[in-house]
Amino acid sequence: MCEKCISSAAAEKFAELDAFIAGLNLDMSSDRRRGSLIQILHKAQHIFGYLPREVQKHVAQKLAIPEAAVSGVVSFYNYFTTKPKGKYVVDVCLGTACYVKGAEGVLREIERVLGVQADTDPTPDGLFSVSALRCVGACGLAPVMMVNGKVYGKVTPAKAVEIIKEYQQKG
């Protein structure tokens, strides 16, 4: 990637990722370097928030593996996302326990209020993105939603809207 074309913020992010990869002390002559791919992608998603093609390409170059090999792994794991996420990531659990306790209604209400579909693009203001996931291991609190990892239990559609409003006010 051309240095001029990327903002300094992005350059910093790439530098952070490069430092992480350098710290792994990979043996580039060994096929075992491929074993570090998921770990690197994990870090990359943490840094960039998502894994756009430029980041995947960069990782491929760093590991000296085909871009397709990176893309294949990214596409396989639900955890990895190629779309940017909002400032607040709203996860609604649709695992069995949450589902029977009405999680789907919660999800639909959040989608309606924010005007976005789950697992697609974030809200136009970039504040929220919504995704549906499976069990987060808090079945006793079902139905469960999370905002940036903070767990809210026994939510109802109405309660979910209140939570969203809280974050909207924070901005």
Binding site: K57, Q61, P66, E67, A68, A69, S71, G72, S75, F76
Partner: protein
């Protein structure tokens, strides 16, 4: 390794421990259906992900005494006492279920599929006697990905992963990958971008191994028919060396038998105005490339010289080795040299406007389609080569035109672009281009021809992926040469070159394992790939041995071309018409 005994359908079979059930069954001619399994996708690399489950058999003794279903292709026989039933009711029912499930998710338009009649899934449905599919469900609706050479229809993909194996392990191109999971899983590219935007070289080895119609060549056949039937056009055809030893198998000839005369007769019967030979321009290539080699060795510059006949390999170079762009020969490939000469020299000779002269190539190759479309091979809207038709597509043209090669009398190529020597025909097999060059380089350096058996450079022959040799080209002058086929092998040799530029002086590289005889446009090989390729190779060398002239510099019409038009090899005019340049196209 110790032998173990397995019982298959009541028959005791003794095999080395570790042999798979499928291999043991094959040994005693017990047929087990397979789909994803392929013993050799290229260069001896097997594909057996055991993903399709069509080879399920019932076996006891694998994990305890209970009879369980196991995939025969991937289940090794490790100990005595295993009892296998390939045709128990349970095994057959399971396989039928698997096949019906595969079919339930398969685009069912067999009649209009490019693979109709040659599809392994279709053949299985026939063998199993499938009359209805018991399962109905959602079908995938992936968009078709097309390019100038290869197209992919993922709705037909059975996820056998053969294409991925050959692309990644054999060719080390890395354009294809498994993408997504579950029902949405498919073979994709990086971020599902079009194949044309990836590091794909269009070698077409994926086309060769795809069991279904998911990866096929892009066909220009309709355009060729239209041109043939257009009275305002003069349509000439050139046919590559490797076509003549592969096309015969589709008309009942022996595998590998050269059917050159019948092929020429068939092309005439199709209605081409003149039938010419890419071998002519292969001889021409040797004159140019040989001269280049001699000059570079004398000057010690830009070595080692790499052959540049193979467009798949040139794509690989441009994608992966942009630092080595100065060393390949600047010669255009024989296909493009032919086009350039036809649209200038020949058009002038017959008094036809180049715009009204259509050049069709019959090639064993998919990458040739891409090559013909490269912008540097087009001048004032006139392409050097207008349409490329693969051997497979030519067979279909023959069938459509009601032509059976077996019923034709041999015919001769037309002149002047039809004359060739034995040195040209061996371009069709790995090692041939270098051998042809060495034969003429000897003459260029010594002013006399190689005599007797010395004309045969056996050290560079054979289907091995990498061959190295030290060859005497003049008294006291020897060159170190390497020959490799298959892009994985090319990578190995190019990495050696990166390390030590002085290790070799000349290297021949072909993208497909074995060379053009195994090109991505050749008739499908069902069964033993290596044996089939060996037969085609023998056909090539037999054709060479039987030729009156076996040295490119003795091609009278090539000599005449220089006298009347080009001047001498390496002249300014020759450079303008017959040479090209390479560009970095690094994508990974």
């Amino acid at each position: 390794m110790a032998n173990v005994t397995v019982t298959i359908n009541g028959l005791a079979v003794s095999v080395p421990a570790g042999t798979t059930i499928l291999e043991a069954a094959n040994k005693v001619n017990i047929h087990i259906p397979t789909l994803c399994y392929c013993p050799d996708v290229g260069g001896g690399e097997p594909n057996k992900p055991a993903s399709c489950r069509l080879c399920l058999v019932e076996a006891t003794g694998i994990r305890g005494p209970r009879a369980i279903l196991v995939p025969a292709c991937a289940t090794p026989i490790e100990r005595d006492g295993i009892v296998v039933s390939t045709n128990s009711l349970r095994a057959m029912k399971s396989r039928r279920t698997v096949l019906e499930l595969l079919l339930s998710d398969h685009s069912g338009n067999c009649l209009t599929c490019a693979k109709n009649g040659e599809c392994e899934l279709q053949k299985l449905a026939q063998e199993f006697g499938i009359r209805e599919v018991s399962y109905q469900g959602v079908q995938n609706d992936f968009p078709t990905d097309t390019s100038t050479a290869i197209m992919r229809d993922l709705n037909k993909c059975v996820m056998c992963r053969r294409c991925e194996t050959v692309c990644n392990k054999v060719q080390t191109v890395g354009a294809l990958t498994g993408n997504g999971r579950g029902f949405a899983a498919k073979v994709g590219t990086a971020s599902m971008i079009p194949l044309a935007d990836t590091s794909c070289t269009f070698c077409g080895q994926c086309v060769n191994v795809c069991p279904v119609g998911a990866i096929t060549g892009v066909s220009y056949v309709k355009k060729v028919w239209s041109a043939i039937c257009d009275p305002s056009k003069t349509v000439i055809v050139q046919t590559a060396p490797a076509v003549r030893v592969a096309v015969g198998q589709e008309f009942g000839f022996k595998a590998g038998e050269a059917v050159t005369g019948k092929l020429v007769a068939g092309l005439k019967a199709l209605g081409f105005d003149k039938v010419f030979d890419t071998d002519f321009s292969a001889d021409l290539t040797i004159m140019e490339e040989g001269t280049e080699l001699v000059n570079r060795v004398k000057e010690g510059k830009n070595l080692p010289i790499l052959t540049s006949c193979c467009p798949g390999w040139i794509n690989f170079l441009e994608h992966h080795y942009p630092d080595l762009l100065d060393i390949p020969s600047s010669c255009k490939s024989p296909q493009q040299m032919f086009g350039a000469v036809a649209k200038t020299y020949y058009a002038q000779k017959i008094g036809v406007d180049p715009k009204d002269l259509i050049v069709v190539s019959i090639m064993p190759c998919q990458a040739k389609k891409y090559e013909a479309g490269r912008p540097e091979f087009e001048h004032d809207g006139v392409k050097d080569v207008d349409y490329v038709v693969t051997t497979r597509e030519l067979v279909r043209m023959f069938r459509e035109g009601g032509i059976n090669l077996a019923n034709l009398e041999d015919a001769e190529f037309d002149n002047p672009l039809g004359e060739s020597t034995g040195a040209a025909v061996i371009f069709g097999v790995t090692g041939g281009v270098l051998e042809a060059a060495l034969r003429s380089v000897y003459w260029m350096l010594n002013g006399k021809n190689l005599e007797g058996d010395a004309i045969n450079f056996r050290a560079v022959r054979g289907l091995d992926g990498v061959k190295e040799a030290k060859v005497d080209v003049a008294p006291g002058v020897s060159v170190n040469v390497a020959v490799c086929s298959g892009l994985g092998n090319a990578r190995k040799v190019l990495d050696m070159v990166r390390e030590d530029r002085n290790r070799f002086q000349a290297i021949e590289i072909m993208a497909c394992p074995g060379g053009c005889i195994n090109g991505g446009g050749q008739p499908y090989i069902n069964g033993d790939r290596k044996a089939a390729l060996a037969a085609r190779m023998e056909g090539i060398y037999a054709e060479d041995a039987g030729k009156e002239k076996r040295l490119s510099h003795e091609n009278a019409d090539v000599k005449k071309l220089y006298e009347e038009f080009l001047g001498e090899p390496g002249s300014e005019k020759a450079h303008h018409l017959l040479h090209t340049h390479y560009c970095s196209n690094a994508r990974d």
